[in-house]
Structures are given as C-alpha cells and as structure tokens.
Amino acid sequence: MGNPYEILGVSRNASETEIKEAYKKMVKKYHPDKYQDNPLGDLAEEKLQEINQAYDQIMNERQGRSNDPYGQPNRPGPEFMEIRRDIDAGRLKQAQQKLDLIQIKSAEWIFLDGMISYRKGWYDDAAGKIQQAVNMDPNNMEYQQALSRLMNAGQGYRNNAYGRGYMSNQDAFCTACQCYLCADCCCDCI
C-alpha cells in the first residue's frame, strides 16, 4: 500500500479534523451506493478499501482506533437466481442466453432483461424495460428502487458540479456585486 496521507490527499501534518473531512469526502466519492449495479463497482470497492486502510493506518499511528463496517444487501429470487448471478458477475452474454431460453415473459424476466441493458450501458433501453416491470408488479420494491436509481443517476453528477464551483460566478451574490459596481461607476461619472 502507498503512503496513506497521499491516498487521502492530505499533508502529513494535517489535523485530525482535516483528515476526517478528507476521509469522509473520499468515502462519499467511492461509496457503494453510487456504484450499485455498476460494472465499476469492484474497482470502486478496491479504492474504498484502500482509503479505509489508509485512514485506519493514520488513525492507528496517531492514537489507535478502528472503524467502519458496511452492510451487504441480500436479494431473493426463484429460478432466475443463476441469471442474476451472471449479471452481477458481468457475464452478460450468458445471462442473455439463459434469459432467452425462458418462454414466459414475467415481470422478473423483463426486469432482468432491463438490468442486462443497464449493465451494457443501454440506459434508455433499460429505463423502458424496468418501467414495464414496475407496471407489471407495482409492489416489488426492488424494481421500484432500480427504476428510481436509474431515473436519478445523472442528478448526482450535476450536484457535484455545483459543489465544485460550477456556475459559482453567476450566483446571486456575484450579481449583487456587479450591480453595486455598475452603480459605483455611475457615481464616478457624475
């Protein structure tokens, strides 16, 4: 493992609160929720592990502490279990083949078909299929959650951009300053 301070992006003499801040930010960035059903999930998890280790190491070095467990969600499912496992492991072709062998297009079938599309990066296609699964089985929480996750998948990106200063030059305060400056110029003229 590399230098834990570098991993967290803080200097060696950063204060404890600074380190905690940096750690929290990193965890948020690579949080499993953000990567649920995303093929990059494993890579994000690796990264998160590295961050956790780095944080633990620093904290242990400084005084000795450990923390942070993550819960793993469990999923039920009948004869589609194997297909689900394939999808989770990224074996999309096999999953699609097995799915195509099943004649009855139940809500679960359509849902998994949609999840394969999602994994492929076919989000528009996936949204249509998962919506259909929700319509067929409106009480299924998993379908609903998947749908709402997909519908809101891009929102995080926009929020992050604003957090990083996007449009910050156009906020109300700035406009107020500009008005003030303009008014000030006028005063000069007079």
Partner: protein, 312 residues
Amino acid sequence: MFMDCIIYGKRAIFVWGLILLGYVTCEKPEMKVRDFEIYNGYYCGICKSIGHRYGQIPRMTLSYDAAFLAVLLAGLEDEKDKVKREHCIIHHIKKKTIVSNGAVDYAGDVMLILAWHKAMDDMRDEGKFSAKASLLLMKKIYNKIKGRYPGLCQKIQEQLKELAVIEKEKCSNLDMAAESFAIIMEEIFNGYVEKNEREQILLKRLGYHMGKWIYLMDAYDDLEKDIENGSYNPLVYRYSKGEEEKAKDFAERIKEQCERNLLIYCSEMEKTIDLLDIKKNKGIIENIVYMGLLRRTEKALGKEEAENGESV
C-alpha cells in the same frame, strides 16, 4: 480507385464530422490560467505534430475533442511533457505553447483517420475534383497510420459500416443507434498503448460513454434540421414524433428524457475519471469532465445562453 470504399450513412458521417468539430470543451471560468495554457499547448501540439510528420495539408482537421484525448492519455503516464514556445502558421506573431509527447502524436493520428473517412464520403457525395486530389494524399497518410494501428483502423471501419446499416433501417432504439459510435470511441480511448487491465476497463468505459454522449448531443442539436430535411434522426423514431407535431414542440416534449440520458452518460464518465490514476493534467481533465460536459449539455438543451463554456 479506392478498394476499401465504404458506403457511409448520412448521419454516420455527420457524427463523424462532429468529433472534428468539438463537443468536449472546458469550463473556462473555472479553469486555472496555467491549466488553460497547457490545454491549449496540447491543442497546438497536435497540430504541430501532424504538420511535422505529414506535411501542412491535413492539419486543418483538428478539434478540442482531440486535445482532451491527448490530455487524458498523457495524464496517465509518468513521463514529463516536452514544452516549447514556438511560432505557427496561424498565430505567426505571438509565440504559442506547444506540448509534445506520444499521446499528442496519437491524438493527431486519430484525427487523421477520421478525416480520411470524412474525405472519402465527401468525394462519393460530390465527386469534386479538389476532394479527389486531396484524397490521394490522404490515402498515403491513412495507409501509414493503418500500418501503425491496424486493429484500430479495422474496427473503426467495421463500426462505420454498422452505423450505415442501422441508419438505413431507421432504428428506433436509441441505444442501438448509438452503439457503433460508442464502440468507435471506446476503441480510440483504448488504442494508444498497452495498459494494465484496470486502466483498460476504465478507459474503454470512458470512451464508450463519451461516444454515447456525443451521439445523443448531436442528435438533439440537429433534430429540427433533420426533421426539416427528412434525414434520419434516431430521436424521431425513438419518441415517435406525430405527423402533425411541430419540430419545436417535439424537441420540447423529449427534452427531459434526453437530459436524463445525457446526465447518466456524464455521471458515468465522472466515475471513471474518479477511479483513474491520473498523474498529470488532473486539473484540466477534471474541469472538462466535471463541468465542461455539463455546460455543453445544458447549452444543447437550451437551459442557458452559455457564453461561458465556449471553446476558444
């Protein structure tokens, strides 16, 4: 005259022209002056690199999308960039910062592959003499590049054929329509040098989603024009435009869905950038992916006047 002539689809080649035009731009107000200088240095570097190796004529085909490709690929390598200050044909009074490295050369080559396909299409379409003359020269250059990146050139050609087929069939599945173009971008991002598996996965994914983003951006941008000309536009079929429905109303009706898709692509690109081990040019890359793409997306959707995020 040309053995490997492909019958292109109209839209295929139009999208093609787009990589040459540049959708991927930076968010200038939020970029550091130093970063901006280097970013431009990559742009000028690609131009110079093409000029050095292939002569003056093909230099005209360059965009900031190519600069992003070079900035990113170079950013993954440890080696320091060679930076010079030089004069150039277009800016002959003021000296310009020029960056040169392997990634810059690669981005130049990719641009020329694209230019070659575009030129072939122009010739087939109009049969202009000038087009034919420059094509002879382009063919020489293209063959050289093909020798260097046979796999990449092959795949691009295959996918262009696919794209033409899909267009002819008037495909109504947006993802299927965009797939070939996305794969081309995936190959371009992954085609530079041998990488470890982790980096390959990430670069391919970045390219794929950037391809989808550009494709949809272009489809939405051109919607009204395409409807007027009766050209194929996947959105018309995907969202079943009514016969009586006006182009403007239709664009308004599907805006939200398009935005949702575009932002998902952006979000995925953001994730790959977060996971890539970027050693150089981090400020530039993050500026473009975190904000430049959003600015361009919002501009296309008509959310703002966007005099800010323009390319230079």
